[in-house]
Symmetry: C2
Subunit: 231 residues, 2 copies
Amino acid sequence: MENVEKVTNCLQCKFQSNIFRFLSEEELSYVNDMRFEVSFKSGENIFKQGGPLTHIVCITSGMAKVFLEADDHSDIILRLMKPTELIGGPGFRTDNRHHFSAAAIVDTVACFIEVSVFEKLLNDNTRFALEMIAYLNRAHIGLYNKLLTNTHKHMSGRMAGTLLYLSEEVYESNVFETALSRQDLADMSSMTKESAIRVLKEFKDEGILNCYSSHFDIANKEALRKIYKIG
Amino acid sequence: MENVEKVTNCLQCKFQSNIFRFLSEEELSYVNDMRFEVSFKSGENIFKQGGPLTHIVCITSGMAKVFLEADDHSDIILRLMKPTELIGGPGFRTDNRHHFSAAAIVDTVACFIEVSVFEKLLNDNTRFALEMIAYLNRAHIGLYNKLLTNTHKHMSGRMAGTLLYLSEEVYESNVFETALSRQDLADMSSMTKESAIRVLKEFKDEGILNCYSSHFDIANKEALRKIYKIG
DNA sequence: TCTTTTGATTGATATATGTCATCGGAACAT
DNA sequence: ATGTTCCGATGACATATATCAATCAAAAGA
């Protein structure tokens, strides 16, 4: 029972619902025996796009950004990972490589589980496999949204989307301190750092947002939502 | 054995490898009994974004475009579906809705299989479920590419990507006739119809491409590849 | 303390891309 | 034959966004 709590604590994937809830106690205990932890300092890579996908990673404490690296060295930040969130990757069961990079944005502890452990669980437990399919499909829906937003909305709409994401899904508050730089905010919104700063200033001037350095305070969320919706 | 051929013929998913190869003969025959065909005229919707996801669809003959519909009524064409390709959708095992639309671009026959049939197969056959996960992951990799291309490349790079996709993955030839309109090409490349026409003209002027109305002939594929790569 | 570096900010300017209006031709219906 | 509609094509123009250069402020070393 101790094992169960320990693992569900570590592994439960809040973001996309807990895909571990269908594991038996033995299975959870098995995962727990096989996992190990690694510490990362802020800014360090947890794994690297193009590198071998040997382990599935679960954030235990801290926060990480997951991002695509383009040929021209610009990045697209796909999402932020909080404790208990799981980072798999589409290389699983395909080419066994990472298709995005992950980096700690504050000091972070992550727990590593061998890919083979996952494969065993999926083989043994059908319900778990179905849950994994659902998990992947939810990720897919998120990507469709990102594609629509980043290709069909203007800068203010994209930045509004980023701020709403941070406030609602990451920090769960209208007021938050963030370790993200302006460049990070730009990489989340598909624009240059300068444009990000200018859009934030616009929001400030319109009284929608208060922000200085790392402090953010969304003053008018409805306005932000409208900007996001209209584009 | 007849059944097997019939179904693999209908169902094999060439695009993302055949996920049906791990079904037993009984399972294939079960699928075959449960499927039924529907004909669509060119331009007709096969299913609609937002609508209920009750069946998985497999193109038997003809061709269809799969596309996201934005709030402002503009579209993003995700990919084209040829015979024997499968259209599922991320609504499967999540919200049971379609997250994209599909429409025939020529007269098309599609075969429908109830979602519950799929769920039964996934439940009974672990290997099939693992293959489904691999299939989803490959689709995921494709989306990352689309995201990188459509947000970080210029128009000529995006159109080059579209032409390479058509030539290599859809028509499998440097010369092809297509039912796609200029608007469709634009929707595949995240730009306006006018811009698409202008970029095609550029390619023409540079001797990279010959095209008039629905006829396309890629004269210099290497140049196109380079344009795609550089952006 | 002083220097050095890094990140945030701003302004001027260039460029890519969208918008709008127009026109011609082909397909199609009357 | 004649209008009508739709699609492709083109030019003029507007505007969104990136680029470049220059400060400024704060943090980090030395």
